[in-house]
Symmetry: C2
Subunit: 165 residues, 2 copies
DNA sequence: CTTGGAATGTCAACAAGACTGACTTAAGCT
DNA sequence: AGCTTAAGTCAGTCTTGTTGACATTCCAAG
C-alpha cells in the first residue's frame, strides 16, 4: 500500500476509483437518510423539517437568516417548513432583544423530543458504521468529507463543531 | 491516537463525534452535487436525469426495472425522466429480444457527451478531495461509506464495482 | 391450447419542496 | 429623513417524488 502514492502512479486517483467513490457516496447517503425518513413519513413532515430541527437544536437561538444560509435554501422555502413547526409547537420563535428585527429560534420540549428520536436513529447507523470501520477509517472518512465541501460550508461546519465541544 | 480504541473508552463513538460525522456528511453531499447541478440548471434537467445517465452509462443495456431498483424510486418517477431523455435523443430504449416486456437502455452519442461533461465536473472535485486527504484517508472514507449502506444496496454497489474493473 | 396471474412498462393526477419575483412591515443606521 | 436589513407573505413555476389505473407480454396450470 506504500507505493500507491509514489511518483506518477497515483492509483487511488484513477477515473475508475473516483467513479466508485461517487457511487459509494450516492448509496451511502441513501442509507444515511433512510431511518429519519421512515420516522418522518408517518407524521406530516419531511427531510426539510428534519434539517431545520437538527440545526436549531445544534445552535439554539440561531436566527432565520443564519439558518437559511446553513441549509442553503431560500427564506420562502425555509419559512414554509418553519411555520408548520411553530404552529405544531415544536419550535419557538422569540423576537430578538438587541435587534428586534431578528427572530431567534429554539426547540420546545416536544421539539427536543422529536429531535432526539430522529438523531437517535441516525446516530445508531453512524455508530454501527464507525464501529465496523474503526477509528483510523473514521479519521480518513472525516478528512475526505471535509475536503469535498465548498470552502464557505467548511467554515460553517467548523463553527458548529467548535461550538458543540 | 492508539488508545482511542482500547477498553470502553471509544472516543470516536461519542454522540458529539457522531453528530459531527452527520453534519460532515450533510455539508459534503452538498458539495458533491453542486457542480453537476450547476451544469444541469442551464438545461431543462435536474439531479434525477444525472443519476439515470450515470447508471445507464455504467451498466449499458440495463432494464428499466434494474435501474429503478438501483435508484430507489418508483417506476413512474423514473419513467418521466427517461421519457424526456429519450425524446431529447440522449438515451435509446430497445425492446428486449428474449423478453419483449423489457426495455434495454443505452446512451446515444449525445448522451455520452453529456455524461462525460457531468462526471468530469464531479470527478474533478472528488479528485481534489482525494488528493488533499491522501490514500489512507480515502481507504477509510470508502470503508465507512460502505458500512453505512443498507445491505441490499451494498450488494448492488459491489456488483457495479466489479463490472467496471 | 387457453386462460389467468405475474411482470414490465406507460399515462395521468397529485403532493412536497425547492425556486424566482414582488411586496409589506418593522427596526436599525447614517 | 431616508436607505438598508431582517423577516414574513403571496403568487407562480419546476423538479421529482408519490398512487392509481391501464396495456402489453410472458409463463404456467388446468
Amino acid at each position: 500500500m506504500g507505493d500507491v502514492t509514489t511518483g506518477e502512479n497515483l492509483l487511488f486517483l484513477t477515473d475508475e476509483q473516483l467513479r466508485q467513490g461517487i457511487e459509494a457516496m450516492f448509496f451511502a447517503y441513501r442509507g444515511f437518510t433512510a431511518d429519519p425518513d421512515r420516522i418522518l413519513a408517518d407524521m406530516a413532515y419531511g427531510r426539510a423539517h428534519h434539517r431545520a430541527i437538527h440545526f436549531i437544536n445544534r445552535a439554539p437561538g440561531t436566527t432565520v437568516n443564519n439558518l437559511l444560509i446553513l441549509l442553503g435554501v431560500t427564506k420562502q422555502s425555509l419559512n414554509r417548513v418553519l411555520r408548520t413547526l411553530i404552529e405544531d409547537g415544536l419550535v419557538e420563535s422569540r423576537v430578538g432583544t438587541a435587534d428586534k428585527r431578528e427572530r431567534h429560534l429554539y426547540l420546545t420540549e416536544a421539539g427536543e423530543e422529536l429531535e432526539r428520536q430522529l438523531s437517535d436513529a441516525q446516530r445508531a447507523r453512524m455508530r454501527a458504521a464507525y464501529r465496523a470501520a474503526g477509528p483510523q477509517a473514521v479519521a480518513g472518512f472525516r478528512q475526505v468529507l471535509e475536503a469535498m465541501m465548498d470552502p464557505e460550508m467548511r467554515r460553517k461546519y467548523h463553527a458548529l463543531k467548535d461550538s458543540g465541544t
